[in-house]
Subunit: 120 residues, 2 copies
């Protein structure tokens, strides 16, 4: 299964999903599936901007000996973004509307991450 | 109701809660309730370290015009940390075990934040 198919499957399984991306913690996108438009927002730019945050979270967790970071979720007025570490250097990120199914997003990221990791 | 009482109520309402803190985004603690010890971890230091992350999240959300940040949740192997913005400069943060009641933590932060804001 290609990366893109995994990302597409995640979006299709979540009500309110806008995009799903596999990206390096350096902000470089490996692949992205755009499911819907977010009015007035460039989701690709947003994910690059947020990758700084994901990297900081990974490093903060490591620095505090709390064990490896598993997931980071940022809720704002217009979007919910959930990132899951796939390997030390890669994340899967899903962006959804605030009314979208956050629990399902977390679940699908958790079960998809090992599959993607085995293909990296 | 004092800040400390709000923080204590949050901890008492969440299975697996370790600590709850009201803190500035500059990392300076206003008040903290420690409910239990986290073996090998200094929760106060952890919250100061994480405050950088909360501030970055607030700024990333603002920079991307996604509206104000509401909540940030970081899941690691040993801890789950959920922060909710109370005002542009203050967060309530709760730290819980990975098996703790994350949904209840989110709920209690959401209903407590306006009460704390009105007392700031």
């Amino acid at each position: 299964m290609s990366f893109r198919e995994h990302l597409q499957d995640i979006c299709q399984g979540i009500d309110g999903a806008l995009a799903c991306s596999l990206m390096g913690v350096d902000g470089i996108e490996v692949d992205t599936h755009l499911a819907a438009k977010a009015e007035g927002l460039d989701l690709r730019s947003l994910l690059v901007e947020y990758s700084d945050l994901f990297r900081s979270a990974r490093d903060s967790a490591a620095g505090q000996q709390t064990g490896e970071m598993a997931e980071l979720a940022l809720h704002t007025e217009k979007l919910v973004t959930v990132a899951r570490l796939v390997s030390p250097d890669y994340f899967i990120v899903v962006v959804l509307t605030p009314g979208g199914n956050y629990g399902k997003a977390r679940y699908l990221l958790r079960i998809t991450a090992p599959k993607v990791r085995s293909e990296l």
